[in-house]
Every structure is written in C-alpha cells, then in structure tokens.
Symmetry: C2
Subunit: 355 residues, 2 copies
C-alpha cells in the first residue's frame, strides 16, 4: 500500500504465474511449454536480426508478421492483431470489448487470468458451471451477457469443445462477442478461425508460447472480423505503439514459414500424450480426455497436493491449483519422452510406497 496508488490498485488480486525456476536440474512439467526447441529457422532469424539495426524502432504494426499469420490461416492481414504474448492480446480484448452493461461469461474452471482482467478493467462477470466431467454445456451460457470467453481446449482440464458446438454458440449469441482462446488448439482441436468469415461475433486468440515452442519470445495474436481488429489497434495505439521488437517479429515470421517442423513437433507431443495417458491409467489415475499438451489427472488414493510435493522432492514440478472443484487434480505438461518416463517412474515409486 502506498498513498499514491489509484484506488483500484489496492483491490487488485494479481495473477500468479506458474513457477519458473532457473535451475536446469528440474523436470519442468508445470507451465505447458513445448519439450522441443523452436524451429532452427527461428533461431537463424534471430541471429540474422542481431545487428546494428536494433537501434531502430520496429515497424509499429508488424506488417510482415500479420502477413505471415494471415497467410498461414487463409485470412487477410487486416483480420489479424498481434501483441506481446496472448495475455497482452487478451487484456486488450477485455478492455476493448467486454466493458459492457451486462456481465461477461466464462466457465467456472478455466484460465485464471480472466477474473484478473475483469478486476483490472472493472468488468462484471459470471461463471458458468462445467459438468462433473468438466465438459462445457453450451446451454449454460443461455442468459443475458456482455460477451463470452473460454479456452478451447479448456485449461487446466484439456477438454475440447467441437467446432459444431462453437457454431451453435455463435448462432445462439449473435449479439454477443464470443472469444475462443485457442492457446492449445494445435494439439488436437480444429481452429475456429475457419468460422470468422461467417460470424462477425467471433474472435479467436492464439499464442506462440505452446505449439510453436516460443514461450520465451512473447508473441500472441487474435483473428477476427476487420473492424474488431481495428478496435484492438485503437487500444494498442493508445497503450504502446511498438509492442513487438525486431527480434520477436523476425522469429515469429520464421516460425510460420516452417510448417514441417511445427507439424513434427505437435504430432510428437500428441503421441507422447497418448502414451503418458496409458501409463497413468495403468497407475490407477483417472485422466480427463485431453486435446492439449497437458493432462489433468486425479488418483483415488492420493491427495493431489501431497503427490505434487512428493514429485517436487524428486525434482519434478507439476501444477496444483488449490481451488474449488479441482483440488483433487494435478495438471501435468506432456514433456519429452525421457521426462515423461522419469515422471511415470517417480509416480510409480510414490504410489507403490504407500501400497
């Protein structure tokens, strides 16, 4: 507390990101990073940009990157907004579109940054209840609202809502903006971006932090109807003219230009997820069906917090959320094959030791 803080600052309850230990001796399965590095072309692009030209401001609208993203998704550059990670993109989305007279809606179990953005911008919200298997019944959104947002696949559960259901939601809520946060869609879903030409009430948000192995770079984007994007640009240009530097733009462009590498990595993660799921089931875990690069699991004989502690003692970190309805669960990132093997070995050891 400080006498110069604006009133609302005291009331903020900031988001708590997952731990980012700097030690290399940990098996880090807590924040859903890719186990594989970025494309070699990305690394080469960064090296090539490491020049005296860093003295110059970047292009404020990152045109090359918008073009690369538009080309990849088969949309126009004017339908693409880019930002400093998808959290910044989401923050601008909340500010630009969700300050409405009706509360916005999102699932009770979803990305825990959403209520924080609402606090930051004074936005009222209501949470709609997932069912007991963490599925999202779209009828739950049938109430007056100032907008809808949800992750798909959902986090931290990994459950996917099909494109047909998203379409039905868009039809039912033609007067609401529906924001689909597709941070994890490349690991098993179909992007709703293909619907944007049919629905002007749809905005889709992506990140390069997961499937493109670039959490350390900070790039995210949104795709939607042109005048939605213009609204985001108005906010961005009233906040920070140059959110992405030369290195970010060049690296992100290179990532979209190496589709082969992207496909190899995401397929490998998907295969690992299936193998990991089988191994966890064999250890008597229940595993929520995941379309993401993590699994959400519970064990009938073990408390999740105790399991997380026991894993931590073995230098393996996973994510535990001390929150209603999900206290019995752990969210475990799909790691490299060797990391997953270490995890399973540790869990077997822990579970057996109590047997």
């Amino acid at each position: 507390m400080n006498r110069f803080w604006s009133d609302f600052v005291t009331r903020l309850q900031p988001y708590t990101p997952g731990e980012q230990p700097q030690s290399k001796n940990l098996v880090k399965l807590n924040t859903n990073e890719s186990p594989y590095g970025p494309s070699p072309r990305v690394l080469a692009a960064i090296q090539a940009q490491s020049t005296d030209d860093l003295r110059l401001y970047p292009p404020p609208n990152a045109e090359y990157l918008k073009q690369a993203i538009a080309h990849y998704h088969g949309v126009k550059p004017g339908q693409v907004f880019v930002g400093n990670g998808s959290d910044e993109v989401l923050a601008h989305v909340f500010n630009g579109f969700f300050r409405q007279s009706q509360p916005i809606l999102f699932p009770d179990i979803s990305y825990s940054f959403y209520p924080v953005f609402c606090q930051l911008y004074g936005i009222e919200y209501q949470q709609v209840l997932l069912d007991d298997e963490f599925a999202l019944p779209i009828a739950a959104f049938d109430r007056p609202n100032g907008g809808i947002v949800f992750p798909n696949p959902n986090a931290p559960t990994g459950r996917l809502l099909g494109l047909q259901q998203i379409q039905e939601l868009l039809e039912r809520h033609g007067d609401s903006l529906v924001v689909v946060d597709e941070a994890y869609v490349d690991f098993g879903g179909v992007s709703a971006i293909e619907l944007i030409s049919d629905y002007d009430n749809l905005l889709v948000v992506h990140t390069l932090s997961k499937s493109r192995s670039l959490a350390g770079l900070r790039v995210g984007y949104a795709v939607g109807e042109k005048s939605l994007i213009e609204g985001l640009d108005r906010i961005k240009n009233s906040f920070n003219s140059y959110p992405l530097g030369h290195l970010q733009i060049a690296a992100a462009v290179a990532s979209f230009e190496d589709d082969d590498y992207f496909l190899v990595c995401t397929r490998r993660v998907i295969a690992s997820r299936e193998a990991l799921t089988d191994a966890l089931l064999a250890l008597d875990f229940s595993v929520i069906p995941s379309a993401a690069n993590f699994v959400f699991v519970t064990h009938s004989n073990w408390k999740a917090a105790a399991l997380a502690d026991a894993l931590r003692q073995r230098d393996i970190i996973v994510r535990y959320f001390d929150k209603p309805r999900i206290r019995a669960y752990l969210r475990i990132t799909v790691g490299a094959e060797a990391e997953n093997a270490l995890l399973i070995e540790a869990l077997r050891d822990i579970v057996d030791s109590a047997g």
Copy 2:
C-alpha cells in the same frame, strides 16, 4: 466502429508514432534513435540466447535485469520496475497512480502520448504553459493536482530542467506524485534518480531506446520508492505476467554491463549535437538549447512544414508537429556525422535556392 466495441474505444484518439520507413535509402532523423548500433556485447548476448531455451517462459520478474539496473544506478532491485518499452511503463504509471480526484498536470508542449494515456484510463488533465522560450516555470504547477509528469529534457524541445528545480518541485508538491520521464537525460542532464532516497513522491522513467541504441528491443524501466514499484507490479501482474522475453532481458543486462561503450556513444552524440547546432545557426536557424539527442529549430524565412517537405524530397526525414505554438519548428534527430553533413548540405541548398 463496430457494435462490440466498449463505449470508450470510439472516443480514443490513438498516438501517432513517427514514420518508420523500411527503406534503407533514407537519412532517418525523425524518431530520435541512436546513430550507433548497440554494444557488441548486446549482440553477443542475443546470439547466446538464441537457443532451445526460448521454448521456456522467461523469469516473470526479470530479476537479473532489475539487478543490473539497480547496480548501475546505485539503488536496490526492489526500487526498479521493468516493462516492454517506456511507453508500457508510462501506461502502467498513469493507470496505477494518476486516476485521482484532481486532474494531473503536464506541460502544454511535451510528449504527445500523455493525453492519450489519459483518454485510455479516463484521467482528467490540465496543461501548464511553457514560456516563450519553451522553458518550464515550475511555479506553473502551483495548483491542486492529482500528480505531475514531464519529460526532462523535454520533448520535442530538448530543454532541460535542472536538478535543483526538480527538488524544489518535489518540495512544493509533497502530496503529489512527480514523474520525471528521462528518456533523453543521458545526452546532457543529471538523472533525478539520485533524489529517490530523499523523496517518496518521485518516480523516474527511463528507456533503452535512445542512449542505449535499442529502440528495436523494447525495454524501459522506472525507479522509485519500493511501495511505488509494488503498485506497478500489481498492475503488471494483472495485465501480462511476462512482458519481457529472454532475448530482451539478456540484451538489456549486457547493455548495462558495457558502460564504456555507452559513454563513448553518448559523448559522440553530444559532440555531434554541438557541431550540428553551430552549422544550423550559420544557416540562420534559431536553435533551442538542447540537452537531448535532437535539436528543435525554426527558420525566419521558411515554414517548417515546407522545409520538412523539401528535405523529404532529398530523402531526409525529420519530424514536424502540426500543433499550436510549435508549427514553426522542426525536430531533427542528431544523426551520424555523415548524416548530419548531408542534412546541412541539403538545408543550405534549400535555403539558398530561395535567396
């Protein structure tokens, strides 16, 4: 306009950054970048970070960078806030400290992003008048206010307010937060950071975009009393947990570790500014005394807009602001020695052609 825009989005009048042409054939003296590239150590640090570790999230609080900045300025890491360029830092400052019951104050001629931040956050402001030589009479701030902000040296004029006057301002306004925006201070001023241990109502903002030759990287910071910084961290952690990526952090740390290079570059710019000033005076320009890496000039026989156009035809771009009180002026960045020579040659040609 779009039916989903929050009400205030329509009313925003976003900031217009200076032109960032991608052509290399221009003499670019319009956005106050350094004519010299960043330290070779910075480039090496980026190369060294271009690895598979980019798949991992960066440290959310950028501790290494805070330590490097704190060490450089002789303060504690807890007195340092870092962000994605000083515009982002300033945006959080306005949101976190300037939403007060009284209007905030800034000079009528100053950084044109300030009124834009006020619009974005619904902050009332009043402008205090610079005198006819663009000096800032600190008595002009003597009125009820919710905070004070000004660039020092001022932009786009380059005029410096001395440390003693800043101290007097801090004394007179002990119940107001005073934000000194020192984007250009390394080119001829003394930083007010040395006053923060004596004044808990002082916050000083810096950028790496000018004197550290890193406009393309996007790093800025603020230094002030610990609980002020905590307020900024609360906002940042409610907006974007990871505003700086690995490359930004490593490059910025390397810049602070190469003080020799920094001093050589800033001294060279200062020497060039003095030479450029003399050459402009010889062409009958009036030159406002500058402590920045640009000069603010007017010519009795030429309209500034016409001069800017004539320079543009010769592939030289400078900045012209079509605004009250400064329509007769051009802001010209101090370029490399050869660029300044081209500028002077072109101006001589233009001015003589009319003679």
